[in-house]
Symmetry: C2
Subunit: 200 residues, 2 copies
């Protein structure tokens, strides 16, 4: 049911988006006017139209106080190291980098991210090079994918609990299922998000 924009209004909205992308803040009325070589009043009218049509909202009479109706906010999540999805190798280390995740995903949970190595989770869509986001300490349900410490080495596995025993399964059948009978298993957290950047 969104009302249509005129060509000019669309171009103004596009500029605002681009400006916001490049500068991480909204442009002022005059910054928009300067870009299009328009008068202040003209831009005001375009903004009024964009507001009334629901493409922008306002937050009081602040400077740069326009906003997108459903702009998302981001949480800074530290990338703590590498985790092996096959034979569980490397240890969690210090934060080296950060990724930014929508706060409606992280939901105030304590999160961290890891780079994935190995192929044990390939059938469930986790491949080498992926960055996974882990919700620290969250209790998993059967079938959830978790990061666990198996005899103090980190691994990405599918979680199952049966009669008080914990089983960690690789979705790749060439790796065995680990049981809490044979290993000391500590659940670090549950997978909530995954990002993959393709080579460019």
């Amino acid at each position: 049911m969104k009302k249509e924009l005129t060509e000019k209004q669309e171009r103004v909205l596009e500029f605002i988006k681009k400006f916001h992308t490049n500068n991480a803040m909204m442009p002022t009325v005059r910054e928009i006017a300067k870009n299009f070589e328009l008068s202040i009043g003209s831009v005001q009218q375009h903004l009024r139209a964009l507001l009334s049509k629901g493409f922008l909202i306002k937050r009081g009479s602040l400077s740069r106080g326009i906003d997108f109706p459903n702009r998302k906010t981001f949480a800074q999540v530290p990338v703590l190291g590498t985790v092996h999805a096959g034979t569980f190798l490397e240890q969690i280390e210090d934060a080296s980098d950060y990724i930014y995740i929508n706060t409606d995903v992280t939901r105030n949970k304590k999160c961290f991210a890891l780079k994935v190595k190995g192929d044990s989770m390939e059938p469930s869509g986790i491949v080498e090079g992926d960055t996974i986001v882990v919700s620290k300490g969250e209790l998993p349900s059967n079938g959830d994918i978790v990061v666990a410490l198996v005899d103090n080495e980190s691994a990405v596995k599918m979680f199952y609990k049966e009669k008080g025993k914990i089983f960690l399964k690789s979705t790749n059948p060439k790796y065995p299922t680990l049981s809490s009978d044979d290993y000391k298993i500590d659940i670090v957290g549950k997978l909530i998000y995954l990002v993959r950047q393709y080579k460019n």
Copy 2:
């Protein structure tokens, strides 16, 4: 070589980060002052310290003109619809939602996102429900994953070109390889990014 911050300076910087996360813009001097119940001049001094120590930078004498030295910026990428990764079904439609991607990934390319259905790309880590980001019109190399129109229906496939012929391969062997001999194939764009949100 980063100089250390005093406790108060650290708290001011934390507030600025938090404010920026919640509001997608930097606070004004007076907004900071109000938060800490401080005078304007006092906040000015803290900002001056944060600037000279390299934790903040300035962009001219603009309102909300402070910035983080290495802040990442995000591009708003429209989610245009659903694409079938098996038997290519649904058509690209209007923008319904947006996701936000680091600009060092999108790099000023024209991008859009699609929700994935089907299992034809499972062995390369693309599963149903994933959101893929496509760089529109970018020429793929052999082995790249692309979104293509095959007889005007959209599909996610692995791209190969040999002797002028285009081949679209599903990494799942139960789907056949498509050739430009048998189908009208238009490359829409190349996969540059993928995000997956696990059920919560």
